[in-house]
C-alpha cells in the first residue's frame, strides 16, 4: 500500500543498479539514520544507550567484518576474537605512545595491524578449505589470545595484565574514560560504523564483492574465469580483519573501558560467527539483525522474566534465559535457515504486493 514502486521509472543504468533502487527504501534509510543520529541520543536513557546501542553497534561492525570473510567469500573463520584483540591492543599501544594524536585516528589506524595479522593467518587458505580452514584461524585465535597474556609489553607491563583506557578527548570533550557521556561515545561509534558500513556496501556491490562471491560459490570455477584466487582470498582476510580490529578497539575504548585479555577468547569468536549465521550469510543488513538478536535477546529475555514474577531468582532467570535463547535460535533457523536478512527480504516482497498477493 505504502510500499509501491509504481511510477518510479529508471532512466539511467546508474539508477537501475543503485543499492536502494526504490524511493521508499531511501526514505526508510534516511529515517533510520535520522533516528539513530538525532532521536536516540536525545530521547533514550543512558541504560539503553550504553547497554544496548553501543554494544550492538560494535558487535554489528565485527559481524560485518566476519560476514565479508565467511558470508561473502565463504571462508569460515574462528579467529575473530583474536583479530579484535589485535585492534584493541594496537590502539592501546598507539595512544599511550603518541597521546597527542586523536584517539579516533588511532582507532581507525589500529585496524591495519589486524589486517597484517589477518593476511599472515590467511596464507594457508589456498590449500586448506571448508571446516578444515578453521584450524588456521583457530591457531590464530589461540596464539593471539596467549600472546595478549604473555607479552607484557602489550599492556605496558600492567600488573594485572589488563589494559586501562586513559581519558581522551575529541573536540575538547572526553570521549573515552569514565567522564565520557554515553551519548557522545554513541555518536562517535555510530559515525564510524556508518562510514565503514557505507564503505563495505560499496565494496560488496562492486567488482571486488563479485569476485568474493564467485570464489564463495565455487572457487575452481572462479579461477577459470580469471579471478586470481589467492589475491581475492587474502583481500577478504585483510578487509575482514580490518573491520574486526576496529570493532575490537572500539569495544575496549568505548564500551568496556578496561579489558583483561580474556575478553578476546574463543567465545567471542563463536558469538560473532553466530551473529553472522543468524543474521544471514552474505548480507550487510543481516549483520545488524544478527548482532541485535544474539546480543539483545538475552538482555530482553532477562528483563521480561524479571518483569513477569518477582519470585523468580536471578540464577533461575539466567538458566531460563539460556534455554530460551537456545530454543529461539533453533526456531529461527527452522523458520528461515537463510537468516534474518532473508526474512526481511520476504517481508519487503510481501509489502510490495500487499494487499493483493499473487
Amino acid at each position: 500500500m505504502f510500499y509501491r514502486e509504481a511510477g518510479q521509472f529508471k532512466t539511467t543504468y546508474q539508477a537501475d543498479q543503485a543499492v536502494f533502487p526504490i524511493l521508499q527504501d531511501r526514505i526508510g534509510l534516511a529515517l533510520i539514520l535520522l533516528g539513530a543520529f538525532a532521536l536516540i541520543p536525545l530521547m533514550a536513557s543512558d541504560f539503553f544507550i550504553s547497554v544496548i546501542m553501543i554494544p550492538f553497534l560494535i558487535l554489528a561492525l565485527a559481524t560485518m567484518g566476519l560476514n565479508i570473510l565467511t558470508g561473502y567469500t565463504g571462508l569460515l573463520s574462528l579467529g575473530t576474537g583474536g583479530f579484535m584483540g589485535v585492534g584493541a591492543f594496537a590502539c592501546y599501544k598507539l595512544t599511550t605512545l603518541y597521546p597527542g594524536i586523536n584517539i579516533v585516528v588511532w582507532i581507525l589506524v589500529s585496524g591495519f595491524f589486524s589486517t597484517a595479522l589477518g593476511i599472515v593467518f590467511g596464507l594457508p587458505s589456498l590449500r586448506i578449505k571448508g571446516f578444515y580452514l578453521t584450524v588456521a584461524t583457530l591457531a590464530a585465535q589461540f596464539f593471539l589470545d596467549w600472546s595478549f597474556i604473555r607479552v607484557q609489553w602489550l599492556t605496558n607491563y600492567n600488573t594485572s595484565g589488563a589494559i586501562e583506557v586513559p581519558t581522551r578527548t575529541l573536540f575538547s570533550m572526553p570521549v573515552t574514560g569514565p567522564n565520557a557521556t554515553p551519548q557522545f561515545r554513541y555518536l562517535v561509534i555510530l559515525s564510524i560504523v556508518t562510514l565503514l558500513t557505507w564503505f563495505a556496501s560499496n565494496l560488496v556491490h562492486g567488482r571486488i564483492g563479485r569476485m568474493w562471491m564467485a570464489v564463495r560459490d565455487m572457487d575452481l570455477a572462479a579461477e577459470l574465469i580469471g579471478i586470481p584466487l589467492y589475491r581475492t582470498k587474502l583481500l577478504a582476510f585483510a578487509i575482514s580483519s580490518y573491520y574486526c580490529g576496529v570493532a575490537g578497539a572500539l569495544m575496549v575504548f568505548f564500551w568496556y573501558g578496561s579489558a583483561e585479555p580474556g575478553v578476546f577468547n574463543i567465545d567471542q569468536s563463536f558469538t560473532i560467527l553466530f551473529m553472522v549465521i543468524i543474521g544471514g550469510l552474505g548480507s550487510l543488513t543481516g549483520s545488524f539483525f544478527g548482532a541485535a538478536l544474539i546480543y539483545g535477546l538475552p538482555i530482553v529475555l532477562k528483563i521480561v522474566l524479571h518483569g513477569v514474577g518477582i519470585n523468580i531468582l536471578p540464577a533461575t532467570v539466567e538458566h531460563v534465559t539460556f534455554m530460551s535463547v537456545g530454543a529461539l535460535i533453533v526456531l529461527v533457523l527452522i523458520i528461515e535457515p537463510l537468516g534474518l536478512a532473508r526474512l526481511w527480504q520476504i517481508t519487503k516482497q510481501k509489502l510490495r504486493v500487499w494487499p493483493f498477493p499473487y
Binding site: I149, N156, T159, T167, G257, E260, P261, N265
Partner: protein, 442 residues
C-alpha cells in the same frame, strides 16, 4: 509464510514493549544493595557459596531488625557468570537505581569499574580481590578492598614458609613454585614474588594455568615434578583448585607444603580424598555456623525458606566469606547513617561510612560475630587495612585453624603498593585528584 512472519513480528513487539515497561524502581524508603553474583558458569563452584552467604546475611538483617537503622535493604542479585561483559551490563542496569555500594566479585569486572566509581558516585567494595593498588585511599577514594590485598596474601604465605623453615633467611637456595590462574588475578602477585625472590635468594618457578585448561593441568604438574620446588603456592579459582589438589596428590607432592591464597572451598580440598590432608590456605574468618549471627540466619532465613541456600552450606568457608562481605556492607551503611544522621543513605554517604569503618571486638560481639574474625578499621589513606590472617589446614573433613595470626610484610608490600598506585595514575593521564573530604573516625 504469513503465519511465521506474524509470530515473529508479534514476539518482537511484545519483547520491545516489555523492555520499556519493566525494571522495577527502587522504593524511596529503602537502601538499594545490588549483589553481583555468579551461580552459573565455569566458576559457579565458588560463586554459589559466596552468593548465598552475601544474600542470607542481608536478608537476615531485614527479617530480624527490619533492615539497618530501621530502613529495609532492597537486595537485588544480578547474575554475572564471572563474565566481564555481563558484569558491566549488571552495573549499568543497577546504576540508575542509586546503589549504595557494588561488589563486583571478579577482578575482571572490578577493573573497568574503578575509574567509573568516582564519576557515578558509587563505592566499589572488592573484598580482598581486585586491584591491590586500590588500597591507597588517597588515589582511589571510591574503592575499598579490605581486609588484605593479594600482595599481603603472598607476603603472609611467604612468612609462613619462612617460619616453617626457621627464618626467612633460610629460604636461600630453596625453590618456590607458583601455580596460578593465567588472568589478572593470578598475575598480580608475580611482581611481589619476583621482588622477594631477589631479596631472600630463593628460586621462583611460575606455572600458569589458562582458564581453558583449568581441568587439564598434567603438564604443569609434570613441570613441578621436574623442578622439585620445596613449596607450592596457588592462586586459583573455580575448577582450577580441585584439579590442582588432585594433580598434586598424583605426583606425591607433600600436601603440607602446598599453600593456597584464601579461595579454596571445602569441595576443592576434598577433591583428592584422604590424599588432600595437610593442604593449607589462608583465611581471616572462622568456619562453622556456631555464631549468633549465623544462628539467626538459620532462624530467620534458612528455616523460613526465604532463600535458595542449600541447608548444608551455612558455615562453609566461602559461605562465611559471603557473610563477612555483607557484614562489611551493613556496617558501612550503619556507619554512614551515624555520620550523616540520615536514615536513607546514598553512595556518597556509604563511601564515607566505609572510609571511617571501625568494627572492633565489642561491635563484632554486638552483631553476633564475636570471635568470627578480627576487628576491621579503615582510614582515608588506607582502604584495605592489611590485616593479619591465619593459616588453615584441611584435615580430611573440614578446615582447621593452625597457628596464630600472620602479619603481612608491610615493609615489602607498601612500597610496591605506592609504586603501583602511582603507576596507575601516571598511565591514566589526568587521573582525578582526591577531592573528597576526609571524615574523622566516629
Amino acid at each position: 509464510m504469513r503465519m511465521k512472519a506474524t509470530i515473529l513480528a508479534g514476539t518482537v513487539i511484545v519483547a520491545t514493549a516489555m523492555t520499556g515497561s519493566v525494571l522495577p524502581a527502587a522504593a524511596q524508603d529503602s537502601i538499594y544493595v545490588p549483589l553481583f553474583t555468579y551461580r552459573t558458569g565455569p566458576f559457579s563452584g565458588s560463586g554459589i557459596y559466596i552468593a548465598e552467604g552475601m544474600h542470607d546475611y542481608l536478608e537476615m538483617l531485614n527479617q530480624r531488625d527490619g533492615g539497618i537503622g530501621g530502613v529495609k535493604i532492597a537486595i537485588e542479585e544480578c547474575e554475572t557468570g564471572y563474565d566481564t561483559k555481563k558484569g558491566l551490563e549488571c552495573y549499568e542496569s543497577v546504576k540508575d537505581k542509586k546503589p549504595v555500594v557494588v561488589n563486583p566479585w571478579s577482578t575482571g569486572i572490578t577493573l573497568p569499574l574503578i575509574p567509573r566509581a568516582s564519576v557515578d558516585k558509587i563505592p566499589v567494595l572488592s573484598m580482598a580481590y581486585g586491584l591491590s593498588a586500590s588500597a591507597v585511599g588517597d588515589t582511589f577514594p571510591w574503592i575499598f578492598n579490605p581486609p588484605a590485598t593479594y600482595w599481603d596474601g603472598a607476603s603472609m604465605i611467604l612468612s609462613y614458609i619462612g617460619s616453617k623453615e626457621g627464618g626467612l633467611d633460610k629460604l636461600k637456595g630453596k625453590t618456590i613454585g607458583y601455580i596460578y590462574l593465567d588472568a589478572g588475578f593470578g598475575k598480580e602477585p608475580i611482581p611481589f614474588f619476583e621482588q622477594v625472590s631477589k631479596d631472600y635468594g630463593f628460586n621462583l618457578k611460575l606455572y600458569p594455568v589458562a582458564a581453558t585448561d583449568m581441568q587439564n593441568q598434567s603438564s604443569q604438574w609434570l613441570n613441578v615434578r621436574r623442578d622439585r620446588p620445596d613449596y607450592m603456592v596457588m592462586y586459583g579459582w573455580g575448577a582450577l583448585q580441585p584439579t590442582a589438589v588432585k594433580e598434586a596428590a598424583k605426583i606425591n607432592f607433600p600436601m603440607d607444603k602446598f599453600i593456597s591464597i584464601w579461595w579454596p572451598s571445602e569441595d576443592d580440598a576434598a577433591a583428592a580424598g584422604d590424599a588432600g590432608k595437610g593442604f593449607k590456605s589462608l583465611n581471616w574468618h572462622a568456619v562453622g555456623a556456631n555464631f549468633p549471627a549465623l544462628q539467626d540466619i538459620k532462624k530467620f532465613v534458612t528455616d523460613k525458606n526465604l532463600t535458595q541456600t542449600d541447608k548444608s552450606h551455612p558455615g562453609k568457608v566461602l559461605y562465611n566469606r559471603g557473610v563477612y562481605n555483607s557484614m562489611l556492607i551493613a556496617e558501612g551503611i550503619r556507619n554512614a547513617q551515624k555520620l550523616t544522621g540520615k536514615k536513607v543513605v546514598t553512595g556518597e554517604d556509604v563511601r564515607r561510612g566505609l572510609e571511617t569503618l571501625n568494627v572492633d571486638e565489642a561491635r563484632l560481639k554486638e552483631i553476633g560475630l564475636g570471635g568470627f574474625t578480627g576487628p576491621v578499621k579503615l582510614s582515608c589513606a588506607d582502604h584495605n587495612g592489611h590485616f593479619a590472617t591465619f593459616m588453615q589446614e584441611w584435615d580430611g573433613t573440614k578446615w582447621a585453624k593452625i597457628g596464630g595470626d600472620i602479619k603481612p610484610m608491610a615493609d615489602k608490600v607498601n612500597p610496591l603498593l605506592a609504586a603501583a598506585a602511582k603507576d596507575y595514575t601516571d598511565k591514566n593521564g589526568n587521573w582525578p585528584k582526591r577531592t573528597e573530604a576526609c571524615d574523622k573516625a566516629s
